[in-house]
């Protein structure tokens, strides 16, 4: 069972629709025990970083998600949900994140001659061999964001070139982040979600 964290942020239902379409057993939940017992956890999210962290705190989910990561459960953060995995965000002040992957979230510079938000289909370039990231190599996926993650190169599995290098897939052990929306990225997005499901199904992988 994959639990999609239910904390009142936009794209949850579209993600659920994609998982249902793929026949992946899933449920929306904010329940501590259910989340800790899940085979896999997906943290979606659109909107502002601080509001999302506040929403997680209101539901006492910050420590629960840290526990999920610690116990080795495969975890996938999507869009803002990926950004929340990092230490902090400089979006409207300085807000602490979940600190599951080291790095910070900063604004896409406005002086690069590119449009902000970074919205549309952009091409992923594989940076490291990884079963999930490989699905996206040279493929276009759908992005909508104004902030991006700065992290160590070893955490970046794939990135897009948008004047700056924007990490599109990141990973630290069992914790994975996708800056784009796999649930809106057509066949390749669905293939990525399927790979995550395989990771969840593979006990060796998830508990090593």
């Amino acid at each position: 069972m994959i639990i999609v964290i239910d904390y009142d942020t936009g794209n949850t239902r579209n993600l659920k629709k994609a998982l249902d379409f793929l026949g992946v057993e899933n449920r929306l939940s904010a329940d501590r025990d259910e989340i800790l017992a899940a085979d896999g956890v997906i943290l979606p999210g659109v909107g502002a970083f601080k509001k999302a962290m506040d929403a997680l705190e209101d539901r006492n989910l910050v420590d629960v998600l840290r526990e999920v990561a610690k116990q080795g459960t495969p975890m996938l953060g999507i869009c803002l949900g990926m950004q929340l995995l990092f230490d902090r965000s400089l979006e409207f002040g300085d807000t602490k994140g979940l600190s599951l992957i080291s790095g910070e979230v900063v604004a896409i510079p406005s002086d690069l001659g590119v449009k902000v938000p970074h919205m549309g289909w952009d091409q992923n370039n594989l940076k490291q061999a990884d079963p999930i990231a490989e699905v996206f190599d040279k493929q276009y996926s759908y992005f909508v964001h104004s902030f991006y993650v700065k992290t160590a190169p070893e955490r970046i599995l794939a990135s897009v070139d948008y004047g700056v290098e924007i990490p599109s897939i990141v990973r630290q052990e069992n914790v994975i982040g996708m800056q784009f929306h796999p649930e809106k990225s057509g066949d390749v997005g669905l293939a990525g979600l399927t790979k995550f499901k395989e990771m969840v199904s593979n006990a060796d992988y998830s508990r090593n």
Binding site: G10, R13, N14, K17, A18, D20, F21, V46, G47, V114, K115, P117, H118, M119, G120, W121, D122, Q123, Y140, Y142, V144, D161, Y162, E183, K184, S185, G186, D187, G189, L190
Partner: protein
Amino acid sequence: MLAKRIIPCLDVDHGRVKKGVNFVNLKDVGDPTDIAAAYQKQGADELVFLDITATNEKRKAIVNTIEKVASQVFMPLTVGGGIHSVADMMALLKAGADKTAVNSAAVQNPDLISEGAEKFGSQCVVLAIDAKFNPQTQSYQVYVNGGRTPTNLDAIEWAKTGVAKGAGELLVTSMDKDGTKSGYDIELYKRLTAAVSVPVIASGGVGKVTDFPEVFQQADVDGALAASVFHFGELTISDVKKELKKDGVIVR
């Protein structure tokens, strides 16, 4: 860098696609989900649904349609036509739309744009504009009510106002070109892309495959919308993308 977008547009009336689509052997040529899935397969980058239902149950029908489409088709969906309130936007976004396009209602009440942008973010609010060239003033005039009613708004100024109010994208139809199959209105889009920094989607006038590279290269728009050339199978999305690639335009 971002790929330029090719966007088929579907007119939906009471949950049915108005003009049948016959580019593939669909079982039901009027079913929005079947058509949307076929376009996803062809490589469309986004779909626009224009609700042309004329009755009071209008919202309910289009919300149900989007709910169904979004369960089977996984790409960005934009919905326009008769959106009058933040509640209308909310219902569509909840059903699975990614963006809502406002047109006449925003002309009547420009704060609808800012209210939507504050509530959902600019990326969810598209300002749709129907523009017609006025030879006397040498400028483009905004029309509302499906192009039936002229306003005193200048299209470029209205575009700038809309962006200042929070519109995240402009979907601009040239009424002079619409239905002519003589290509996009390059001059209109040149003026628009020079005036605003948000993405601009060109609409109206496609007749042949080279119309696409022309509008991307000469007017620097972000997306090109078309209806009949795709629906009637005169062009496929992949024909268009092949042509664009050949001309060095970045596409998915």
